[in-house]
């Protein structure tokens, strides 16, 4: 198959029009937004480029997608945005590094969490990296003991070799993010903080971006979501106890767990070799004096022989303690999702909004309510932006905890609202994930009058209640063939 045979350069949109192209690389985000530039030229903004799976077909598809981006933008991005450090949002920058290296990139936007001059960002990064390294070791052991669970957790934690697949590129979201950060050598780089408002470089007349998240404050980052108020019926789709877990529950306990992982598997000879302070330190990690310890060999033939009986293997608990790693991994994954850069892109002059939320979890959404924009935009509120939203890029592939209900979706009241879901049925089915989450999806369908476009399946069925002219107009703005194209594209009119 010829790579992206139908790829062609995107012409400048007509005045008062903006194009949003959702790529179909698999489970992951990659959005190309094309504005009409101030001089009438096309101005391209790329938000993320990544895919979760690493099988040969997916990697080949990613190659076609990046080829399309190259051709569509004529090798020139005015603005590149990477919302957060997750492989399903930035794998493309590694997998197709050469193509991106050859592109002209004028501007790079990142969340403040990537700004290593920011002390809070630095702290978070250091903590995170430290944990990630220790977790890798634990997950290694978990994978040996329980390959299935281990693989799933490793994939989530993005630490293992789970993605070292046919494409030959190992998952390394940190490295991909580093490449984006280092574009500062050739592009103008901005770190964005909530409350800021930016014009789109080169398209000041077409649009501007309001920064909503992630929140910049340690207390807020540490704030856990499990309060009763936030769990009240209707505020959220699914109640999850912790959606903004950058604060770790009991660091001492986690460290003790990691220490146990490090010591696990040390042979009795290693331990016998310890003397003096080394022995003291080793003992500190133990619950009891070594005198109480019995070797498994002694237990096998004697007091705990039932534990080793062949028929009783199913009752052993040798590896259950490693499941703690899954919990820590989950916590870390949610934390990173919550560092997502969230932009409300206001299209001018009509004031319609494209809401690009990346993978923001509920905590990130809630923090928007605290955001104050600087003059002359100080009258703009988050409710106002939600009310004017005409595109909701559905958060976190439609998962249950990345779309706020009462103060989110239920405030998107615009009668032209369209939703795009970067999801892939085959990929999520294999993982058993409910994406898109059915109750959220139902509401999404009714809010948008059925105007939902999925990356894998394209335009969804019309609702019986949707008037024919509305549906016809919607279809008229969609471009992209499910069989032929690597994207679906929608044309927004805001003149």
């Amino acid at each position: 198959m010829a790579a992206a045979a139908n790829s062609k350069k995107i012409k400048a949109p007509k005045p008062g029009e903006t194009l949003v192209r959702m790529y179909r690389q698999g489970l992951g985000d990659c959005f190309l937004i094309t504005f009409r530039g101030d001089a009438g030229e096309p101005i391209h903004m790329l938000i993320d480029c990544g895919v979760w799976d690493g099988d040969a077909a997916t990697v080949a598809q990613m190659k076609r997608v990046v080829e399309d981006i190259r051709a569509a933008t004529d090798n020139h991005l005015s603005l590149l945005i990477c919302t957060h450090e997750h492989w399903d949002h930035n794998s493309g920058f590694n997998q197709q590094r050469a193509v991106f290296d050859a592109m002209t990139i004028d501007n790079v936007w990142l969340a403040w969490t990537e700004d290593m001059k920011d002390s809070l960002a630095r702290e978070l990064k250091t903590e995170f990296e430290e944990r990630r390294k220790k977790l890798a070791l634990a997950l290694n052991r978990l994978s040996q003991a329980e390959p299935k669970l281990g693989a799933r957790v490793s994939a989530l934690a993005e630490v293992g070799g789970a993605f070292a697949a046919a494409g030959g590129v190992k998952a390394n979201p940190a490295d991909a993010m580093k490449w984006v950060r280092d574009l500062s050598g050739k592009a103008k780089r901005e770190f964005l903080t909530p409350g800021q408002v930016f014009v789109i470089p080169g398209a000041a007349n077409a649009a501007r971006a309001f920064v909503l998240g992630p929140p910049h404050s340690r207390p807020f980052l540490n704030k856990r979501l499990a309060t009763k108020k936030q769990k009240e019926e209707g505020e959220v789709y699914a109640e999850k106890s912790d959606a903004f877990g950058l604060g770790f529950a009991n660091r001492l306990a986690d460290d003790a767990f990691f220490a146990a992982v490090e010591q696990h598997g040390k042979s009795p000879d290693d331990i016998r070799g310890l003397v003096g302070e080394e022995l003291d330190l080793y003992q500190l990690g133990l619950p009891f004096d070594v005198a109480y310890q019995k070797r498994p060999e002694d237990a096998r033939g004697g007091f705990a022989s039932q534990y080793f009986t062949d028929g009783e293997k199913w009752r052993r608990v040798d590896d259950d303690w490693l499941n703690t790693a899954a919990n820590i991994a989950l916590w870390m994954d949610k934390s990173t999702n919550n560092t997502s850069l969230v932009l409300a892109i206001e299209l001018l002059p009509a004031g319609k909004v494209l809401l690009m939320t990346a993978d923001a979890q509920i905590g990130n959404w809630l923090s928007w309510r605290e955001v104050k924009f600087k003059a002359p935009h100080d009258a703009v509120t988050v409710d106002d932006l939600l009310d004017r939203t005409v595109l909701y890029k559905v958060g976190h592939h439609g998962s249950d905890n990345a779309t706020l209900r009462r103060d989110g979706l239920e405030k998107m009241n615009h009668d032209e609202l369209v939703a795009m879901i970067p999801v892939n049925r085959k990929s999520v089915d294999a993982k058993g994930w409910a994406m898109p989450f059915p109750p959220m999806y139902r509401d999404l369908r009714s809010r948008t009058q059925g105007r939902v476009i999925r990356a894998d399946e394209g335009v969804m069925d019309k609702l019986t209640s949707t008037p024919a002219p509305v549906w016809k107009e919607f279809l008229g703005n969609v471009e992209g063939d499910k069989k032929k194209d690597v994207f679906f594209q929608y044309r927004f009119r805001h003149g």
Binding site: S241, Q306, V317, D320, A326, L330
Partner: protein
């Protein structure tokens, strides 16, 4: 040791005169119990001077003549493997004469053998409470799948689990849980998080296996699973909450039966008696010991700025609003606790009047020790009654999909069957407490004892039921000797046979009735079943005896028979119609048979008089209830925990350790 055991075995009835080591013709009877020391709360209390005295208690544990080092007994086997460290800890031999002579090892955090002793003693105490309440021996949940994950046939003897395993040091996290797959309790240990909590050394190790309440809580999960395995399936917001709440109720009230703690608290609080705050404060301490582990927390009340315990005003709307399972469970615990307080108040009212010359106002100074002891005796007695009442109600619960309201009905019916004359108004206390917390059964008109008691059947329904239920002759042929003296393996085997018999009778009757043209479907409806549809299989879930006292004061036996069914169900009601029809058309194993989103379960618990075969109560969860399936759809659609979302097995939707999950923060 071994020698004496061997000698004892040889000493059969023929040679009973010759018992080794005893003077001829004189045999020393085995003691009824073994005394074992444990922490009353957990080790942290011992570090505070004012509580140090009440932190040790001596439990009287049933004497097990065959107890092996471990301890390994009839019900439990403690296997002290610490997999993270890669070692075992030497097992304690509770029959060692030095240990026997001092009521077990003294409480110690640093000696793993004491840990083994404590988990054994507390778990055995919990088991004994269950057996006392239910009047029969406890069985653990059956093993449902073999090593390769294949289902084990329902009458396969491999399903029998003689002993629950306890691993006191299996985990390295702030967690402890019951594993339904491994039939084991796993306890963790971890460094304490903060130094500012009294008793916690910064970085000092906290052992979850040294908390009475955590051990009792986890053992209760296992016992409840043995009795009601389907309560593992979260089909409405109350089910998981019930598991947690029930485990807390048992831990809490079992704790109140230890006189040491109660006496100490009553003596300490002196004139505060009228406010009855001591028991609440004590309950709160239990809650703190459980930490995020328990449902208890501050649902009962909390300490104000002056360090006085103030009760939490019940708010009926909480039950409506709280959806997270611990928060919801806390409401049930609080309701039962309220009932307990009312019962206690009622029982001590006369004592207080006597002690205060009728004024009810307690004078200055210390309470008279006699009064303290009498009050404590009433408190422990009330606690024991509430504990046994709560456990006994389990026989009167529906087999699936329990709600708190149904549990209230079970409580009331069970108590009415045991104590026909409610002298101390226990039942009123329970109804009042549940009402104040907003817990109502869905389908009763008024909150009175009469209307809360489970319904029987009408005469015409009785005729219908004759088509499908076993006759008195058939019931008479079931094995009934499942009491406190029967061998548990035999109980298991006979109970399997009983289930198969009942199943076959119902099937044969159904067939016969069908031939005669009777309306089997109608009869099924009486007990909430859909009979005559092959795609909805039927399972006789349990057949067990339960004891009651008749109005004349006679002790009689009822059969508790649980029959369940499952129906394929889909989250979307529209999809349901089309898919269920298609599902019905295609045989099992057909790859084109639509895969259900979940199985909707229904069925009934029947309480049947063993002698007359008369159906006394029908506790029904109709399999064809549209309202109930709609509720379950809404509940299932509203999401699961993050852990389940990410790590459940995609092919089955099962999470490996459901209880581990409930006890974690994520």
């Amino acid at each position: 040791m071994a020698k004496r055991k061997g000698a004892a075995r040889r000493a059969g009835p023929a040679s009973c005169a010759k018992v080794a080591d005893t003077p001829a013709g004189f045999e020393i009877a085995a003691p009824p119990s073994r005394r074992l020391r444990t922490y009353a709360f957990d080790p942290t209390l011992g570090l505070r001077l004012e509580t140090a005295v009440l932190n040790e208690t001596t439990l009287k544990v049933r004497w097990e003549p065959q107890l092996q080092p471990g301890p390994v007994g009839e019900y439990l086997e403690v296997v002290d493997h610490d997999p993270a460290t890669g070692c075992f800890y030497a097992p304690v031999d509770l029959n060692h004469k030095h240990i026997l002579a001092q009521d077990g090892l003294p409480p110690s955090e640093g000696n793993p053998q004491f840990h083994q002793q404590m988990v054994y003693a507390v778990a055995m105490t919990t088991i004994a409470n269950f057996e006392r309440a239910l009047g029969r021996k406890a069985l653990w949940a059956e093993r449902k799948r073999d090593e390769k994950g294949r289902d084990i046939d329902s009458h396969d003897r491999r399903r029998y689990i003689p002993r629950l395993r306890i691993h006191p040091h299996a985990l390295r996290e702030a967690n402890a849980y019951y594993s339904p797959d491994k039939k084991a309790l796993l306890f963790g240990y971890f460094p304490a998080a903060k130094a500012d909590e009294p008793g916690n050394l910064p970085g000092g190790i906290v052992f979850t296996c040294l908390s009475h309440d955590i051990i009792a809580h986890e053992t209760t999960h296992a016992l409840l699973d043995g009795l009601h395995p389907r309560f593992n399936e979260q089909s409405n917001p109350d089910v998981a909450a019930f598991h947690e709440a029930f485990a807390d109720i048992v831990a809490l009230f079992q704790h109140f039966t230890f006189p040491e703690a109660i006496v100490h608290q009553i003596a300490q609080t002196r004139g505060d008696l009228r406010r009855q705050n001591l028991l609440g404060a004590l309950a709160l301490q239990f809650g703190q010991a459980l930490g995020s582990h328990g449902a208890l927390r501050d649902a009962i009340g909390k300490f104000n700025e002056n360090d006085q315990w103030v009760p939490h005003d019940p708010d009926p709307e909480e039950y409506e609003e709280a959806t997270e399972c611990h928060a919801r469970g806390a409401i049930l615990v609080a309701a039962v606790f309220d009932a307990f307080l009312a019962i206690y108040r009622h029982r001590v009212a006369d004592l207080l009047r006597i002690a205060t010359g009728g004024s009810g106002i307690v004078g200055e100074g210390e309470l008279h020790p006699d009064l303290v002891n009498r009050l404590a005796a009433e408190a422990t007695k009330s606690a024991r009654h509430v504990l046994l009442m709560c456990i006994r109600a389990l026989d009167y619960c529906p087999p699936v999909d329990i709600t708190f309201g149904e549990y209230l009905r079970a409580l009331i019916t069970a108590d009415l069957d045991l104590v026909p004359e409610d002298e101390h108004n226990y039942r009123i206390a329970f109804i009042e407490a549940f009402r104040r917390r907003g817990i109502y059964p869905r389908d009763v008109r008024t909150l009175s004892v009469d209307s809360l008691v489970w319904c029987g059947v009408t005469e015409s329904e009785r005729l219908d039921l004759r088509l499908i239920l076993p006759t008195s002759g058939e019931l008479g042929s079931l094995m009934l000797d499942w009491d406190l003296d029967t061998d548990r393996k035999r109980i298991f085997e006979k109970s399997c046979d009983n289930r198969i018999n009942v199943y076959n009778w119902i099937r044969e009757l159904k067939g016969r009735a069908f031939v005669k043209g009777h309306d089997v479907a109608r009869a099924g409806k009486v007990v909430g079943l859909q009979l005559g549809r092959s795609y909805i299989p039927m399972e006789v879930h349990s057949v067990r005896p339960t004891r009651r006292t008749s109005l004349e004061g006679k002790h009689t036996v009822d059969w508790v028979i649980e029959i369940t069914q499952r129906r394929p169900a889909w989250i979307d009601a529209e999809v349901q119609k089309a898919n269920e029809a298609e599902y019905r058309r295609r045989p099992a194993g057909d790859p084109k048979r639509p895969k259900p989103d979940f199985y909707f379960r229904g069925g009934c618990t029947l309480i049947i008089d063993a002698e007359s075969a008369r159906v006394r109560y029908v506790i029904r969860k109709s399999i064809d209830s549209e309202r109930r399936i709609e509720r379950e759809r809404a509940f299932r659609g509203s999401g699961q925990s993050l852990f389940a979302t990410y790590f459940a097995d995609p092919s089955t939707g099962r999470v490996k350790e459901p209880f581990a999950l409930l006890h974690r923060s994520v």
